[in-house]
């Protein structure tokens, strides 16, 4: 399978049911039911060092991934082969135990590019940030991971598993 192509309705040709499947049923199904992946980290936590180093969030729960793009070894989602294009990614990370002058920053990293400091904000003891970003992913090659960094906390901080706060990432197909 690949991203649907624009159907070529040929004059003078009497299409059969399989033709209409490729002309319309398949493409409209793809457009209405887009590629999507939603993952979260609900049963474990990610420790984020106080070095300012962006740390990959260790998502452990796949909420939905109909194209089987999740790679648990790299904690990244790989766009399915044949479906290169623009995707919108969203990421939410919460950490607990921050001191009074700590910052939390989020970024995405794909196989070919990082998107650093998409947010970078001062946080309280329990701080939360979320962000969206459009990224181009090459089908079958490009993975996307969500990362967070902690600044000036004095010690490593952990993400939380509390409902409403646990790390979550979503990726949805937008356009070729």
């Amino acid at each position: 399978m690949t991203t649907p192509s624009v159907p070529d309705f040929i004059a003078g040709y009497a299409p059969q049911q399989p033709d209409f499947q490729s002309y319309w049923t398949g493409p409209s199904t793809f457009f209405a039911d887009r590629i999507i992946a939603r993952v979260s980290q609900q049963s474990s936590t990610t420790s984020i060092p106080d070095s300012g180093t962006a740390t990959t969030i260790l998502f452990d729960t796949v909420l939905e991934d109909p194209y089987s793009g999740w790679d648990a070894s790299t904690h990244s989602w790989v766009a399915p082969a044949g479906y290169s294009g623009w995707y919108m990614a969203t990421l939410r990370v919460a950490v607990t135990g921050a001191s009074a002058n700590t910052a939390l920053s989020l970024q995405f990293s794909t196989s070919y590019q990082t998107y650093p400091n998409l947010v970078y904000q001062a946080i309280p003891g329990e701080g939360v940030a979320s962000v969206s970003q459009y990224v181009y992913l090459i089908g079958g090659q490009d993975g996307i991971a969500g990362l967070a960094a902690i600044h000036n906390s004095g010690s490593a901080l952990s993400t939380v598993t509390t409902t409403g706060l646990y790390p979550a990432m979503e990726v949805v197909w937008i356009m070729s």
């Binding site: 624009v6 409209s28 400091n117 947010v119 001062a122 939360v128 459009y134």
Partner: protein, 459 residues
């Protein structure tokens, strides 16, 4: 500017009537056009500020967008390195989802009342450009520490009045200490226009409240009757081997094969309902044997459901932009206790889901959800938060920041951005939380106000 797809038109699918001939131009104009739009034809821009742009303190400063990752309509004069006002002229009328991310490289410490924000300066329908902030966050009090945030908004924009978009950064840090580290600016056409635009001849979107799931076309060879012993004259239902392509309002040909009458008693009947492979029909005039052929033509009803309705829905899916119309007093409370954000008015709400600041999801599926609460601020150290509650459940938090602006109250805007899977009938409410030790108001000026944005993405 030119469309990446020659001949691309605003989706405006025909309504089919019985007897209409299914012609190639009609299929191209409806199905082919929609596919072109969805695959690569929708206007979209993804642009990048590579850094080192000095902003004007306390004034929204247009971002210089120096790298165009995507500008599929080839809007000319858009990317202008070094110019702090990269402006994108809207090439095609419709609803646009816009986002911005920006972080600043600061140098000095002591940002006791420093904010870093982003926003959108947009002329809509020929009006003057108006600034609307997105996220606006506090920094930490450490030298050489960046600060950054994101924002999103939804606009109805009109190419006939040459509407423009400018993405801006916003800070009170002085020049020399507020250079951009990097910024991203995006706009995505997400739907046909809503209503009321000047000069634009249409079409506007058509609401399809119950969109169909795409279905296979009828098989060319038809199907056959499976009722044991066949059906008698006067029958009002028939069971068939394969119901693919049969829809209420369509037509079946009993004892019809390859477009020809198979027997003198062949007849056409209207479909009045369908459950599985059992089809309710108008009373037959004749009996028909078990295994008798049944022709299933591509009916007007079939095309109106699986072409017209589907195209209308995909071109005009549910979206919402609700903005707070007046300031709201939020009591001080301990996180995660929170107060619902009220006085949300629907600027754009094509499925009429908003009532009393609560949005009821009209169609099941995934939605991009963005919410922001704009706080007046406090001279006391304070925690500010924005979250979303689905069906009154546990609040899902998107932005929780700490501001320590002892030099004076400074407005901040906390934001939430996620893609959620929702079910029709779910209720969406936005919440804010602050712990200043005293009441805090939200802001409701044109530039600084709370809002909730939702855009349907997928079943």
């Amino acid at each position: 500017m030119t469309s990446p797809v020659p001949g691309l038109a605003y989706p405006d699918p025909r309504t089919w009537s019985k007897g209409d001939v299914i012609t190639v131009p009609r299929l191209r104009g409806d199905m082919g056009n929609l596919a072109s739009l969805m695959v690569s034809g929708r206007p979209m821009v993804v642009a990048w500020n590579t850094g080192d742009q000095s902003l004007v303190a306390n004034t929204p400063s247009g971002l210089a967008l120096e790298e165009g990752y995507l500008n599929n309509w080839n809007v000319q004069g858009f990317i202008s390195a070094g110019v702090n006002a990269s402006t994108w002229t809207v090439p095609w009328t419709g609803m646009y989802l816009m986002t911005a991310n920006m972080f600043l490289d600061t140098t000095t410490s002591g940002p006791e009342n420093v904010f870093v924000g982003v926003g959108f300066n947009v002329s809509s329908n020929g009006g003057s450009a108006v600034s609307r902030d997105g996220g606006n966050v506090p920094l930490i009090d450490v030298s050489n520490t960046p600060g950054g945030t994101m924002g999103a908004d939804l606009y109805q924009l009109n190419s006939y009045t040459a509407d423009t978009i400018q993405w801006y950064g916003y800070t009170n840090l002085p020049a020399g200490d507020n250079s951009t580290g990097q910024a991203w600016a995006t706009a995505e056409w997400v739907a046909l226009a809503d209503e009321g635009l000047s000069d634009y001849p249409g079409p506007y979107g058509t609401v399809v409240a119950s969109p169909p799931v795409p279905a296979a076309f009828p098989s060319g060879q038809g199907t056959y009757i499976t009722n044991s012993g066949g059906i008698a004259a006067g029958a009002t239902s028939v069971t068939v081997h394969d119901a693919t392509g049969i829809v209420t309002g369509g037509t079946l040909g009993l004892d019809v094969i390859n477009g020809q009458y198979n027997l003198p008693t062949a007849e056409a009947v209207n479909v009045t309902g369908i459950t599985g492979t059992t089809v309710s029909i108008g009373a037959t005039s004749f009996s028909h044997a078990q295994n008798a052929p049944v022709a299933v033509p591509v009916s007007a009803a079939f095309l109106n459901t699986y072409s017209t309705d589907l195209i209308n829905f995909l071109a005009y899916p549910p979206f919402l932009r609700a903005s707070q119309s007046s300031a709201q007093t939020i009591p001080s409370q301990t996180f995660p206790n929170a107060t619902q954000i009220t006085s949300l008015n629907g600027d754009f709400d094509n499925f009429a889901g908003l009532s009393s600041s609560t949005y009821t999801v009209p169609v099941s599926g995934t939605y991009f959800v963005y919410g922001q609460v704009y706080w007046a601020g406090s001279a006391a150290a304070v925690q500010l938060a924005t979250g979303i509650s689905v069906n009154g459940g546990t609040i899902d938090w998107g932005g929780v920041v700490r501001a320590d602006t002892t030099a004076g109250a400074t407005p901040f805007c906390t934001a939430y951005a996620r893609t959620l899977r929702l079910t029709a009938g779910n209720t969406i409410e936005m919440f804010g939380s602050q712990n200043a030790g005293a009441n805090m108001a939200t802001l409701a000026s044109t530039q600084q106000k709370s809002r909730l944005v939702m855009v349907f993405r997928s079943f």
